[in-house]
Amino acid sequence: MTAYDRRDFLKVMGAAGMVTGLGGLMWPLEAFAGASGKVVVVGGGFGGATCARYLKRWGPKLDVTLVERDSSFITCPFSNEVISGELEISEITHGYDGLAGAGIKVVHDEVSGIDPGGKSIKLKGGSSLKYDKLVLSPGIDFRWGSIENDQIATQEAMPHAWKAGAQTLLLRKQLHAMKDGGTVIIVPPKKPFRCPPGPYERASMMASYLKTNKPKSKILILDANPSHSKQAAFHEGWASQYGNMIEWVKDSDGGDINSVDPASMTVSNDFGDTYKGDVINLIPYQKASLLVANAGLTNKDGWCDVDMGSFESKIAKDVYIIGDACVAGPMPKSGHSSASQAKNCAAAIVSGLAGSEAPEPTYNNTCYSQIGPKYAISVVAVYRLKDGEIVKVSGGVSKVGNKSRVHKNESKYRVGWYKSITADMFG
């Protein structure tokens, strides 16, 4: 690693000077080892912000820089309640001051190029950053055109709201302007996609709003998949909370939409069926961010293959890819998964830079979905690394038939989860 430089030496000498009274106290020499080096983290979401913080927590001497395009982060978790009107977007918006306060250099800029050979990245603002280790947590981009006429311009008439922010507010505005008796159509993409239960929680939160404000309305989910996340628990909740307001249509029953027409607000399938919506939430097919695609770090399917213990790219040495962009076996593309991966990645980097072996990996996921007031369900899993692959060792979905007390507790603990995980990221 980098040599012990004069500046650090002077700092240490100053500290030593304050405690002459400690003469005779022996401190193990190894204790002074510890990780040093320069780590650059790109992307300040669940993966990147968590990774930056744990790098600094576990490697206090590390020089950690976080590069993030935006000045604040709006969480996708809880954004469905912004759409329903129960929360304001300001309540799910977080700044980066806590990271700066923890000694992380926060640079608001966009990456224009990655040079793994030269171990540097270029920023749109013109500067370059050198690194010993690079962590990329860039999230997803959309595969525009997977459905005929689903172009970037379509997101104005048929918002995806799959990156929280302006799109979330647009979908909220459309839902709240809809007439009573209207039809909302939700079109989830073919798997894999960010937040597998997201479209179904969204249907629930929209139904919660409609039940109170526009009870004659309907929600139609036209699904490109044969099954969906937490399916039995969602369907039980929908029936108990909303009667038949929400209808789910699987792929082989006509849910697999292959073209859309924003002008007539219709979507169509292969069978020749056309559905008209007053509000259409069209969630595009997904792939890893263009940032990693343009750097040549994606596989033929558009995602990033990594060593599932350290999250080092299988393509570029000293480049680590975490979060929605990477392939992590059975771990869903959730904020919690990203944070879990971030800690494993940080542990591998800190240990590696300290010259010691990384601890055995350990991962978990906890993902709550709100179905109605005081009613939530969850999926949980604990994972281990076996023969280089992440495997699930425990977990499952909330049981069908759970008492209302369990749903109420899950709804409460979901709020505690949000507070905890965002504090873990942003301080």
Binding site: V12, M13, A15, A16, M18, V19, L22, G23, L25, M26, W27, L29, E30, A31, F32, A33, G34, A35, R57, W58, G59, G103, H336, S340, K343, N344, A347, V350, S351, G352, A354, G355, E357, A358, P359, E360, P361, T362, N364, T366, S378, V380, A381, V382, Y383, R384, S394, G395, S398, N409, E410, K412, Y413, G416, W417, K419, S420, I421, A423, D424
Partner: protein, 105 residues
């Protein structure tokens, strides 16, 4: 060089004593298995397990009680909304490591 090393030993001790930004629990050599395991709990139970209402604090929990409760969650003896699904993912040795760790937070 020898003198320099001795000075740096004291300096490091001084930094710890002075609380100059070193996090309790951080291993100087790298990251321990229990630190990594415990970090996974923080996502719901707050930084160092300190809790975020209504999610309970697990910091400073008596280690026998911690182990007993986690095992009761895993076996189904203690009703819970989600902790059974977590507790079943760890060996007894790992639960003991976590119990020891949180008793000192």
């Amino acid at each position: 060089m020898t003198n320099f090393r001795i000075i740096t030993r004291y300096a490091f001790a001084a930094a710890l004593v002075g609380g100059l930004g070193f996090t309790p629990g951080a291993s100087a050599e790298g990251v321990s298995r229990v630190e990594l395991m415990a970090s996974q709990c923080n996502s719901c139970h707050g930084i160092n397990g300190a809790g975020a209402k209504p999610n309970p604090s697990i910091a400073g929990e008596n280690k026998e009680d911690f182990l007993d409760l986690m095992q009761a969650f895993a076996s189904g003896d203690e009703p819970t909304s989600i902790m059974d699904r977590h507790a079943q993912g760890y060996t007894e040795a790992e639960l003991k490591m976590l119990a020891e760790y949180y008793s000192k937070q």
